[in-house]
């Protein structure tokens, strides 16, 4: 198996792990970690496949991933602030599982 393929498939694996964690775990911090792992998986797919071009890899996906990392960091920071606020307001670290409020 070629290196790009190996890492791209690992990226798929990370995406699915992240998705599983996001759906299954209730604690919001775990969900945030799960989203980050899923994001890393997507980035891994993007960069791994860019290496198929031979000696010098395609720089465009690298730039996209750097943009993506900045966006991911921003989103994570926002999510963490929101989590702290939510936790302080409700005393809980998870969302109610029933979806319809009152």
């Amino acid at each position: 198996m070629s290196t790009p393929l190996l890492y791209a498939l690992a990226g798929v694996g990370l995406c699915l792990l992240g998705l599983y964690g996001l759906i299954v775990y209730a604690h919001l911090l775990r969900k945030i970690l799960a989203l980050n792992i899923m994001g890393s998986g997507v980035f891994l797919i993007l960069v791994a496949l860019a290496r198929r071009s031979g000696d010098s890899p395609d720089p465009v996906p690298h730039a996209m991933v750097i943009t993506g990392i900045v966006v991911a960091v921003s989103a994570t920071a926002l999510a963490l602030v929101l989590l702290v606020r939510f936790s302080a307001a409700t005393g809980r670290n998870q969302l109610d599982d029933d979806e319809h409020s009152p």
């Binding site: 997507v42 996209m64 993506g68 999510a79 409700t90």
Partner: protein
């Protein structure tokens, strides 16, 4: 088609830059937030109108950012469809900005963040509507999603924080699914330019998987049944101007993106999914309406009504005729105006009585006549009664269904209309009567009342001037929008 060069002012750039600059100014001088925000809103409206005339004169606009052009650089692209979306956002945006002037004066919600966040959201919206590049769309999508989440959380109540949290997860999950699609398309075809992809895309596994993921991502973000679970808590608990923006514009942005992908990128690939989307849309109409009818809180009722109304947008995917697509796009416009007006009216009622329990609405109609008029006019459009915009939209959809003898869809639309009438009249009925527990009334700012009415009137006017939007839609629209489908 014109290659927009520098000499006539490139308004397509300014519709993105103006709100961004405004947002930075509002952040720098928070005390002048209102003035700066309103000025920016008006300036953006003017830029959108200028772009409209540019489009009328020269047809579809393609603008190469940095002068590179595809596939290396990023292209901006505006046709009739993008223009309608821009105009819709500008109209609703100015209305909501005026509304916010009054709203944040008395509300307990945190006003400091509203102006910069809303202007950044507008940047994301306009950027999304004129983007010609699927990766650039990802960035605008994130800008839009994160600002929407932050705006919901401004309300700072427990419900709002929970709703914002759920909304954030859904939004990020959707963006990541979309990004996987982008990765697959880029690595399959070596470009992220929409126009180029449209010519290159062929039937192969990568394309199909990308299509599937991107469609699911957009369905999630535009809350199509059964992926709607996040919408009511977020939309109902946000501050009223934010609810209006979310229901009117943000969900439409992902619907617009879906249309772009569907027609400009994946047009040559199978359209088998269309029937599925149509069925889900029909289910959304019934399910959303029934739940709306069962709500006891006004804002939740309006939010579930959004779930129902979004269902109509997906019927054209199954009807597959140009008439249906026109109806679908028309529905986007009329729902945006009507729903913004309705959420604003609901916000007025909430501010007036301090609560939004439908059963305890105490003679609101007599005491807030302007607001109640706005609510009723918006309701007329949602029900699809003439002469409203909603009527034209439903008429087009019905016409499309009946001309192909697809009675099932027509019946669904009728049922949806009746249910909409039921939940609107439920509110109106309680608004006229005296409640068991009469309550004190807080003053409601005239800005809030009149801006709600103005948007509601626009929703009605949309029905009287149907040919303008439809002609605009024809400019550079996808083939299926204007000529009969095979």
């Amino acid at each position: 088609m014109i290659e927009a060069s520098g000499t006539p002012l490139p308004w397509i750039v300014w519709v993105i830059l103006l709100p961004l600059i405004g947002a930075m100014l509002c952040f720098l001088w928070p005390r002048q937030g209102k003035t700066l925000g309103l000025l920016t809103a008006l300036a953006t409206l003017l830029a959108v109108i200028a772009l409209y005339f540019q489009l009328l004169d020269g047809g579809v606009i393609r603008y190469a950012v940095g002068g590179w052009g595809a596939p290396l650089g990023i292209a901006l692209y505006a046709d009739g469809l993008s223009m309608l979306m821009l105009l819709m956002s500008a109209l609703v945006g100015v209305g909501v900005s005026l509304y916010a002037l009054g709203y944040f004066k008395h509300s307990p919600d945190n006003p400091a963040g509203f102006w910069p966040l809303w202007l950044l959201m507008w940047t994301g919206l306009n950027g999304l509507f004129v983007a010609g590049d699927i990766f650039n769309l990802y960035v605008t999508l994130e800008l839009l999603g994160l600002s929407a989440v932050a705006l919901v959380a401004l309300a700072a109540s427990r419900d709002a924080l929970g709703g914002a949290m759920r909304y954030l997860f859904v939004s990020l999950l959707g963006s990541l699914c979309y990004l996987i699609g982008v990765a697959l398309l880029y690595h399959a075809y070596g470009t992220v330019d929409i126009a180029l992809l449209g010519t290159l895309v062929e039937r192969n596994p990568a394309t199909h998987v990308a299509l599937g993921l991107m469609v699911v991502a957009m369905l999630l973000k535009s809350a199509l049944f059964p992926l709607h679970f996040w919408l009511p808590p977020a939309h109902a608990s946000a501050p009223a101007p934010v609810s209006a923006l979310l229901s009117a514009l943000v969900v439409k942005a992902s619907f617009y993106l879906l249309l772009r992908l569907w027609f400009d990128v994946f047009s040559t690939v199978s359209m088998d999914l269309g029937m599925v989307l149509g069925v889900l849309g029909a289910a959304a109409i019934v399910w959303g309406s029934v739940l709306a009818l069962r709500q006891t809180r006004l804002k939740l009722l309006v939010a579930y009504s959004t779930v129902a109304q979004l269902g109509y947008l997906f019927l054209p995917f199954a009807l597959l005729s140009p008439l249906a697509w026109q109806g679908g796009v028309y529905f986007v416009l009329s729902h945006a105006l009507a729903k913004a007006a309705m959420f604003m009216a609901a916000g007025n009622i909430l501010a007036f009585g301090g609560h939004d329990r439908i059963a305890d609405l105490d003679r609101v109609a007599q005491r807030l006549p302007i607001t109640m008029t706005a609510f009723c006019l918006a309701g007329v459009s949602l029900m699809g009664l003439p002469p409203s915009g909603g009527f034209i939209a439903k008429w087009l959809l019905l016409d499309a269904a009946l001309s192909h003898d697809q009675w099932g869809w027509a019946v669904m639309m009728m049922i949806g209309g009746l249910l909409a009438a039921a939940y609107v009249f439920k509110v109106v009925g309680f608004a006229f009567t005296q409640a068991d527990a009469p309550h004190d009334a807080q003053p409601v700012s005239p800005f809030m009342e009149w801006s709600a009415l103005a948007l509601a009137v626009c929703a009605i006017l949309l029905g009287l001037n149907a040919h303008y939007p439809l002609e605009l839609l024809a400019i550079g629209g996808p083939v299926t929008f204007v000529s009969p489908s095979p």
